[in-house]
Symmetry: C2
Subunit: 183 residues, 2 copies
Amino acid sequence: MTAPVDRTRRPFVIEEAIAILARTPSTLDALLRGLPVSWTLAHEGGETWSAFDVMGHFIHGEQVDWIPRAKIILTHGDARAFDRFDRLAQFTASAGRTLHNLLDDFAKLREANLRELGSLNLTNADLDRLGRHPELGVVTLRQLLATWVTHDLDHIMQISRVLARQYWDEVGPWRAYLRIISE
Amino acid sequence: MTAPVDRTRRPFVIEEAIAILARTPSTLDALLRGLPVSWTLAHEGGETWSAFDVMGHFIHGEQVDWIPRAKIILTHGDARAFDRFDRLAQFTASAGRTLHNLLDDFAKLREANLRELGSLNLTNADLDRLGRHPELGVVTLRQLLATWVTHDLDHIMQISRVLARQYWDEVGPWRAYLRIISE
């Protein structure tokens, strides 16, 4: 087993990005399916999101964010800005649904999107193509796809944190050692 | 689907704790098995841990921490302090092994430990029993078990963060939106 020289940064390699993106639905499924609803609806207070809310957000991203934006870049370059992403769309879209449903839908949408990504046969020149984010300005297709990966991991982290913090009181003196809780 | 009134805290319920503990091996398996080694050996610089290091730490916890400490409480109460936990044990124990092996071992050890936990048939009175942590002082069996759950989630969070930060450079302007990277 050989470690790369710099273990803190990886260059974007599309096969590696796809390897991570493909694992997200099964990771979330393993973590969440069948957990008591009191846990999957738990949040961090105020307007913070539960695991259930995050799953709806993941679904919305598959529908309107990553692949649609990649296609805007490939078709229009930076001449046309991406549509704005609605961070609260899931509060309407997920209403009345079960976590079960959301996990199933996310897995199907992700699979279809990765199939579509593969069919684009992106070259390095394609990855350098420019797009326009409505707030961030000029971005590349490579940055969009790297953000897709990071966004997945960000929300896996969020869900773990939301669940862990439910035991803020119950861990007692161990709170001092648990970074997730005390941060 | 009914949300509990306070969605930010859960009381310790052993069946719920076991439900989460039982999901950790499959969650880590889904996230990590088959990922390129350059990712599973990635870390956050300096003495920080990779996913590979964390898996060794999980294994060591199954072997000497959670259930062994629960038994010390049930046998000796707070008359005998827990043995100290070696946070660096995995650097020797995992040497020359594959992530593959570590994921398999962790799953087996966790399954056996949850079987043993179930066989203890813990009552609420048992959960109130006192133990002695070598640094934190008096703790309860309930706190130990709640910490086991939280510790799992803490390290799932850590692994997600370590992976995500590898794309610090690659996400470009999106860094501003990605909490996991910019925190």
